[in-house]
């Protein structure tokens, strides 16, 4: 290099002092401030009641884990828990099985058509669960439409109301929009050139779907299934209206504990058990179905 460049060397290190650390007033930003409101809201309507519930479970009627031992030794409690988990799992699997093809179709059809059809999926949300459950009572009852249609097959006019099938059908209907919307959201993100690439690389349509498309949809399938499962665990209205005494879910038993027995401590205990159950199962399923290479939510 020439002399000119060397003349432009930086001054000796001793002369360099780091600039005074910049100070900027650390005022809460707009986003932080805006976050305050929902946090406060959640604290009041969510954190406090859950805390109170957890507290009640170990304080009422007397301090200690008496409620838990009572619940754990009560065979009917285990049975109720088992029915709740089983029905929720069945509903979760059914909604995903029925929802995936719909979501797949919605993701592949034209944007305009999809917008309209998504509206149709969402409309039932505008109707209350109570109304929809009552509708199933009418449909599945002894002289209901479904019963009449099925009469030539079943051979009698007996409705399937107050049975496990009735609860499953009604809950599946009510919860079906969740998997459809969640899975569609993920399928929309899948690059349309991926299945095409798979085809060009020698995969037939079935193998392209199984090896490329489906694995990419697994996170959405699992998380929507989990969501339905967790919501179903706490379902009260539908099992109470459409189901019989044999279909008492844990939510029904909790309501009974409060309304009939005035046993707040037991109700809180069962609710706590439900919370623990839902959390544990969610975490296990998440861990088991991680798809490598994908950023999951």
């Amino acid at each position: 290099m020439t002399a000119q460049t060397s003349a432009k060397r930086p001054p000796p290190a001793a002369d360099i002092r780091p600039p005074a650390a910049r100070r900027r007033a650390r005022r809460p930003g707009f986003v932080t401030a805006a976050l305050g409101l929902p946090v406060a809201f959640m604290a009041i309507v969510y954190a406090y009641p859950v805390g109170a519930m957890l507290l009640k479970s170990v304080t009422e009627p007397t301090a200690g884990f008496g409620n838990f031992t009572e619940a754990a030794t009560d065979r009917t409690m285990w049975h109720v828990l088992w029915i709740t988990v089983r029905m929720s799992a069945e509903v979760a699997v059914l909604t995903v099985l029925l929802g995936f093809p719909v979501a797949y179709f919605l993701a592949r059809t034209s944007k305009r058509k999809a917008r309209f059809l998504v509206l149709l999926v969402v409309i039932p949300f505008w109707t209350s669960i109570l109304v929809r459950s009552f509708a199933w009572i009418v449909l599945l009852g002894d002289n209901g439409l479904v019963t009449k249609i099925l009469e030539p097959l079943t051979g009698d006019g007996q409705g399937m109301l107050y049975s496990e099938s009735a609860v499953i059908i009604a809950m599946t209907h009510i919860l079906l929009p969740f998997p459809i919307l969640i899975i569609k959201g993920t399928l929309d993100q899948i690059d349309a050139s991926l299945p095409r690439a798979a085809r060009s690389l020698g995969a037939g349509p079935v193998r392209a779907f199984a090896h490329v498309y489906l694995p990419l949809a697994v996170p959405a399938i699992v998380s929507s299934g989990m969501l339905v499962f967790v919501i179903a665990l706490g379902f009260y209205v539908t099992p109470a209206l459409v189901g019989g005494p044999k279909q008492s879910t844990i939510a029904v038993v909790i309501a009974e504990a409060v309304q009939v027995n005035f046993d707040w401590g037991m109700a809180a205990t069962l609710a706590t058990l439900l919370l623990i159950l839902a959390t544990a199962l969610t975490m296990i399923v998440r861990r088991l179905t991680k798809v490598k290479g994908l950023v999951t939510l």
Binding site: A197, R199, A208, G293
Partner: protein
């Protein structure tokens, strides 16, 4: 052979399907497009597309977006069906084959790597689909990983790779199964300028090493010129000209090709005499302009006069040589570009044209200074106008 694919309601072409052409004569033709038409509803995307690609040849389809180049490529890949015409691969008609039966390596612009598979798994995919034995597949994968310098990344997922590395994975995945032809649709389009220039060299070297037959689609003329054995220029669904790069540049067959590839000066012109040399009247140029008969490509008398700027000689005096075309002009503007200056010249009759001049001569090209332009009859061409 099934009946002609539906052209859509209201398509003008319905039963005009050309008689099925004979299979390609030349045995070394790896890919043959024969009379391919593609209609989308009543919009014509590709019109009478004919192209033969020899084994080991690198052919590029060059054209602006919407010119039908990608559609042609997708018809060969089987991702689109042709409305009419036939495609042959290695001497076999594949027009009605599904994509997975064609044995074609396809590189997408966005790479289309499978995000849930590692580099090695992505490359293994086509081998797995062909039910290759595990041990053989492993050997093939190692081979292409080495060739594309990806060995150390074999267990990474696509999102952990840079754009250039993803590009190499896409390439490796497309040729690992020894396809009859490699198709690339703007494969360098998503990379930044420097990386693109580098990958261009790498791509060419790799293609020559594996002796692959390549059909490449791009709108970037530098890429086409640097990579291709032959370039086909497409415009509005029509293949305008197919030729080696230098021929395409030196001897374009119409004004679209001349303007699309490199810089050119095109002026409306009329032919007044035909002979050993065509005599033209060029709008904006005083007097007659002579064009070598071999450079007269137009059937119509009204067409375009074309010359490459670097063929123009600029001098202070009118050149003496009798058969040199000459025009007087003045400098309208100039732009300093470092090694060169771009001079905008205006002829006395009002035609505007640009020329490049070495930067050290810039003192001679002040705005308003007069000059003479001259060129030989073999430097310019008379071309049909295609806009």
């Amino acid at each position: 052979m099934s009946e002609q694919a539906s052209a859509g309601v209201g398509a003008p072409v319905t039963d005009e399907r050309p008689a099925r052409p004979d299979p390609p004569a030349a045995a070394e033709d790896q890919v043959v497009f024969s009379g391919i038409h593609k209609w989308y509803g009543d919009a014509l995307a590709v019109h009478d597309f004919n192209l033969a690609i020899r084994k080991g040849e690198f052919v590029t389809l060059l054209g602006p977006s919407g010119s039908g180049k990608t559609t042609s490529l997708r018809i060969l890949a089987g991702l689109e069906s042709a409305t009419a015409g036939e495609v042959y691969l290695a001497g076999r008609a594949v027009t009605d084959d599904v994509p997975e039966k064609r044995n074609i390596g396809l590189v997408f612009q966005n790479y289309a790597l499978f995000p849930h598979m590692t580099v090695a798994q992505n490359i293994a995919f086509p081998l797995k689909m062909r039910r290759m034995k595990k041990a053989d597949a492993a050997r093939e994968i190692d081979r292409v990983l080495t060739m594309t310098q990806l060995t150390e990344f074999r267990d990474r997922y696509p999102r952990q790779l840079s754009g250039g590395q993803q590009q190499r994975v896409a390439l490796a995945r497309a040729f690992v199964f020894d396809p009859s032809v490699l198709l690339m649709d703007e494969p360098l389009g998503a990379l930044d300028r420097n990386l693109r220039d580098h990958m261009r060299l790498e791509l060419k070297a790799l293609q020559q090493r594996i002796g692959a037959t390549v059909l490449y689609v791009t709108h970037d003329q530098d890429e086409a010129l640097a990579l291709s054995d032959r370039i086909g220029v497409m415009h509005r669904g029509v293949l305008q000209q197919t030729a080696p790069p230098h021929e395409l540049y030196e001897a374009p067959v119409n004004s679209f090709v001349a303007k699309f590839l490199g810089k050119s000066i095109c002026l409306p012109a009329r032919r007044v005499e035909k002979g050993a040399r065509t005599v033209l009247e060029v709008s904006g140029v005083d007097g007659r302009v002579l064009v070598e008969a071999g450079n007269d490509c137009s059937t119509a008398d009204d067409a375009e006069f074309m010359i490459r700027p670097e063929r123009l000689r600029i001098s202070a005096e009118r050149p003496d040589a009798a058969d040199r075309n000459a025009a007087r002009c003045t400098v309208a503007a100039h732009v300093y570009l470092g090694p060169q200056i771009e001079v905008h010249l205006r002829t006395a009759e009002g035609a505007e044209l640009e020329a490049m001049v070495p930067a050290e001569l810039r003192a001679d090209f002040e705005v308003g200074s007069p000059h003479w332009l001259s060129w030989g009859p073999d430097d310019c061409r008379f071309l049909p106008r295609v806009d």
